[in-house]
Symmetry: C2
Subunit: 319 residues, 2 copies
């Protein structure tokens, strides 16, 4: 079968052996995958990665222990956990120390004709949901995760910093799922417009307001974002840190301590609430699909496209 | 009257005018003050400070609107707030944007024969409490603040990083007030012994355990401490950041985000629970008074002593 391979900054297609499945594992046939910033970071050498990336996907189950899955169209949580440790028992397999992570850590990713995931990770995609929307389940789940970590009240003012893919999804999710009064701060008129279309207040980042919000989500993807977010936060407020940045961040901790601010790291989330939001058409996803679709063998072009200025989501389609 | 003055790294004694009090203010006559690390930082130029420092004190009220205060021996909260804003209404005057801070921000400090504080900030020191113990109320309150920010269960393992004054008090407070199973990590056998005497487990810092604690208190006073504390923290755990460090801290945010760790800034606390712990003799304070007492006019020697290796608390006595 064909697999995307990345190594030392290069994207190539390799002919690989179709994966076999272990106990409780499903074999999935890719329908479509989405290229995420993490994939671009992996390409740049983050996690010393080499192999097949891909963790945003919609696929068809071709084999599994429970035959009821076969033929189903699914998305799947990307952390494959041991199922036995204390984290797994608390339904927090996302923090299982023995986990592998699809397309990121010790688990060949979804940018291949076939790949595997534990059956327990799968969710069926409801009929009415289009493939290209289902692909967003993983990043929407990452946005939903914020609501499991901090309490956000209806009509509560929340600032989201960064108008990249994740920032746009977070702004929309906090408004749609929690009723927050979101203001999205970004640098790109065309990207901000996607949120503005959903009734979200948007601001071109020039001078950021100081100490203005009790909740600030940092999704800039840049090392400078955290310090900006801290400056925007009121005493006793929360900065939700979403950017995984390669390398060190510098931060003046004095305002964090003096103003007793909490910086809350936030990563992957549960898929159910995300799929529910997508199914309910609560999110403005179509304008984010501005990078077009590429066939799996054209992955190198797809990755090049994903790195162009202004491009949000690029999809890879399996034939 | 005589006041301690610090400016550009020098400690001097100045003859100044006895302060007048405004409405709702009390005039206090210093009995004894404690030199704190913040005072040493002010001496080094932190907050571009020049003036009279001192915020750890026990004093006698010599004048106030409510005459019931006169003659009372008191300690006092160091943030002098407006009393009207939303923070003050929530009893969080410590975050009032218009606050002055005794001996730190726009408010002449306690290292003088006389100084002022709002009556509302005062607490009477119970009869049985010695002056040199009452002086610890402010730093003990800062330790108590942790318990108002994160829930610590009885017998919960908590790591405290740093065996300076604040680390020693935090370790003792978390054990005495919350029943936590505290392990204090430090570099100084003699300092760790003060906590060990109270039944606290102590460890000389060599190789710190990774991902071992759900709660880690960072009280090293050094920029490297935060990253060490993050490394010691389990997924979904809390780092309580207590060190106010002048300048920037560098931090790898990836483990914070991936492990969804919360970094909680923590500063001053309420005085009542602190004074209760001191009154109940729950803390091992005497061995911390290893810097001796100096008369107010000998403040320069007292500050020099406080900077010597191994010295914890130095007191200034008013005649």
């Amino acid at each position: 079968m064909q697999s995307v391979h990345i190594e030392r900054g290069k994207v190539s297609i390799r002919e690989t052996v179709k994966p076999k499945r272990g106990k409780s594992q499903a074999i999935l046939k890719l329908i479509a995958g989405g290229i995420c910033n993490t994939d671009l970071e992996l390409l740049r050498g983050y996690y010393s990665f080499k192999g097949t990336p891909g963790h945003e996907f919609v696929a068809e189950v071709v084999d599994a222990d429970s035959k009821k899955w076969v033929g189903k169209r699914v998305v799947g949580e990307i952390n494959a956990a041991c199922g036995k440790c204390e984290w797994c028992r608390k339904k927090l397999g996302r923090h299982c120390p023995d986990r592998t992570v699809l397309g990121i850590v010790n688990h060949p990713g979804a940018f291949a004709e076939f790949f595997t995931l534990p059956e327990a990770n799968l969710l069926e995609v409801p009929k009415g949901v289009r493939d290209e929307h289902a692909v967003f389940t993983e990043p929407v789940a990452a946005a939903c995760e914020i609501l499991e970590q901090v309490r956000i009240a209806k009509d509560e003012p929340v600032a989201v910093l960064g108008d990249g893919k994740l920032g746009l999804l977070i702004a929309q999710v906090l408004r749609a799922a929690a009723g927050a009064k979101v203001t999205l701060y970004g640098k790109h008129k065309s990207k901000l417009a996607i949120a503005a279309d959903m009734g979200i207040q948007t601001v071109i980042t020039e001078k950021l307001p100081e100490g203005a919000y009790a909740k600030v989500v940092e999704a800039t993807g840049s090392a400078a974002g955290l310090e900006q977010a801290v400056r925007m936060t009121r005493p006793r407020g929360h900065v939700i840190a979403k950017s995984t940045i390669h390398g060190k961040t510098t931060l003046d901790m004095a305002p964090v301590v003096v103003n007793e601010i909490s910086i809350v790291g936030s990563r992957c989330g549960r898929f159910e609430p995300a799929l529910r939001l997508i199914k309910g058409r609560k999110l403005n996803l179509d304008p984010m699909l501005n990078g077009g679709e590429f066939a799996l063998p054209d992955a190198a072009q797809a990755f090049a496209k994903a790195q162009q200025r202004g491009i949000l989501k690029v999809l890879l389609r399996n034939a």
